[in-house]
């Protein structure tokens, strides 16, 4: 686990060989280059800043490595309805996208960047950034995405695909945590003039006034 490795005994604020001090230190293996043979990706960095480290995700993918099947079954590049076992229910890009826009046809264990070549699944943020460049820049600098473990030094951030399913990107709604208790002896905080409250008030005003004296 990378988290356990970071929790050393050394005072963390002193510059150390782990490369996580206030003085920015750059580990040599920080920048993962494109696989040998492939041309370097078009986008490399902003402002001479290295991209954030990303927790590896390849070991968490169910079907990975994809080549264990695609070694034998040649990839059919024809856009079509996929077999159920492989149908990921693609709802991304409103029908404009197809598997091979992001996945590499030659090497099924890699993703592809349209302009310049293959990248690892661990570097899928490079693929997402081709369309979502503003988000990618925010993520790069720390205004979007979730940081791992610490708040200072060279960042390690979760990849886009850690939170967003790349095939169905919107997050799913879920139940919130329990309601805070009301202080002993107090009524729940009144919501003044909220929409619901206004609706109740209007409903009361709309009702005809009953006057039992005229019966």
């Amino acid at each position: 686990m990378p988290l356990a490795a970071l929790a050393g005994d050394d005072p963390f604020w002193l510059p150390s060989d782990k490369g996580r001090g206030l003085a920015p230190q750059v580990a040599a293996d920080r920048f993962v280059t494109a696989p040998s043979g492939a041309p370097e990706p078009e986008f490399s960095r902003y402002d001479n800043r290295l991209p954030p480290r990303v927790p590896p995700r390849e070991d968490q993918l169910i079907f990975y490595p994809c080549s264990q099947c695609h070694e034998f079954w040649k990839t059919n590049p024809e856009p079509r309805e996929l077999a159920p076992v492989h149908n990921v229910g693609l709802q991304h890009g409103q029908g404009r996208l197809w598997c091979l826009v992001c996945h590499d046809q030659e090497n099924s264990d890699k993703l592809q960047i349209l302009r310049s070549g293959q990248v690892d699944f661990n570097e899928s943020w490079r693929v997402c950034g081709q369309c979502h460049s503003a988000r990618q820049k925010d993520w790069y600098y720390g205004a979007h995405g979730k940081r791992v473990y610490d708040w200072q030094g060279e960042p390690e951030r979760y990849n886009c695909t850690h939170c967003h399913n790349p095939h169905r990107p919107p997050l799913i709604q879920r139940k919130p945590q329990p309601v805070p208790p009301v202080r002993a002896g107090l009524e729940p905080m009144q919501v003044y003039f909220s929409q619901q409250r206004l609706a109740v008030l209007e409903k009361k005003q709309a009702q005809p006034v009953e006057n039992p004296a005229h019966e």
Binding site: P24, Q152, Q177, P178, P180, P181
Partner: protein
């Protein structure tokens, strides 16, 4: 009226007993001081489990003569931390580690929260309660997630008791509020005994032992960020967080004020605060305002930001931001 009264919870009896013991202790203290034999009795032994406010005579005496946090010598601090650990062992039966964490040199904390990303899950609230040993029955919670109607920024219209089946609700937005660690903190000015102050890294902290429980700081705070322990905080022993900090999350006593301290026990060791770690959307960002390459500096320089009740001049070090880029003039 009387037939509707609920049975008195068991912890009430305990606190009453300890109160009585405490009062007796002070009575005896007066006598002892008068005869001038403090030094000889100071080395006394355990008298009974419930006497001296649930502590040994030695510890009760040590608590009584304990100095203000900033004036304590290193030896006195070691003693004070040991007393806190012993007290927790007696009360909860749990071995805790209480430390005196100091600010990291060259650090000034600021917090940014992305309201475009907050979805009202309240994960930060539950994580905070567990991390900071908040009393489960005393209804103290450092973070409140306010639900507001879209386009509305009036806090009087907000509701933090929302409980739909799923969040986020259509047409609502969420605004978590907590202590903003103001740079010009009105609570610090209001405290008559200087039990609360701003530390070197910008965190406004409290010496719980020095607090007299007058609640002037609560009246001064415009954000409702401070909370008073009306009862002895009740924490299940198995849920007690054993990694504690003197001015942070150590178990508090009845009658003191407490508030968010940016998880000083974690952030001063480089870890994220519990709320930031728990937030599943990554909306919360803690960072060093003095570090130009930090995440928070990028947010403050490039995003649309606002602070709550900025016109009061409290200078909160807690910014809300949105996904939208800041307009360039």
């Amino acid at each position: 009226m009387s037939k509707n009264r609920k049975p008195v919870p068991s912890y009430r009896e305990d606190t009453e007993n300890t109160d009585l013991a405490r009062r007796n202790f002070f009575k005896k203290m007066g006598l002892v001081a008068a005869t001038g034999t403090v030094a000889t009795i100071g080395a006394g032994k355990v008298i009974s489990k419930q006497a001296w406010g649930g502590a040994t005579f030695e510890d009760a005496l040590g608590d009584f003569f304990q100095d203000h946090y900033v004036r304590m010598t290193d030896d006195e601090m070691v003693d004070a931390l040991a007393r806190i650990e012993r007290k927790a062992r007696r009360k909860f039966g749990v071995e805790i580690i209480c430390e005196d964490t100091r600010p990291i040199p060259g650090t000034y904390f600021g917090y940014a929260l992305n309201i475009s990303k907050c979805r009202g899950y309240r994960d930060c609230v539950t994580a905070c309660v567990k991390e900071n040993n908040l009393g489960r029955d005393s209804q103290v919670q450092y973070i409140r997630v306010l639900e507001l109607n879209e386009g509305d920024r009036n806090l009087e219209h907000s509701d933090h008791y929302y409980n739909p089946e799923t969040v986020p609700t259509e047409g609502k937005w969420y605004l978590p509020v907590q202590c903003f660690q103001c740079d010009n903190p009105p609570c610090v000015t209001a405290c008559p005994v200087e039990a609360t102050w701003m530390d070197d890294d910008g965190i406004v902290v409290i010496d719980y032992n020095w607090c007299i429980g007058c609640r002037m700081c609560m009246a001064a705070c415009p954000y409702w960020a401070r909370h008073f322990n009306w009862t002895e905080p009740q924490i299940p022993a198995q849920e007690l967080n054993p990694n504690t900090d003197y001015i942070g999350n150590r178990p508090r006593m009845k009658g003191v004020v407490e508030k968010c301290h940016f998880c000083s026990q974690r952030t001063r060791k480089g870890r994220q605060p519990a709320c930031m770690e728990a937030c599943p959307t990554g909306a919360r960002v803690l960072g060093n305002l003095l570090d130009p390459s930090s995440d928070i500096r990028y947010i403050l320089e490039n995003k649309k930001i606002f602070r709550l009740k900025e016109e009061l001049g409290t200078e909160p070090k807690f910014w809300y931001y949105t996904d939208e880029a800041r307009a360039r003039s």
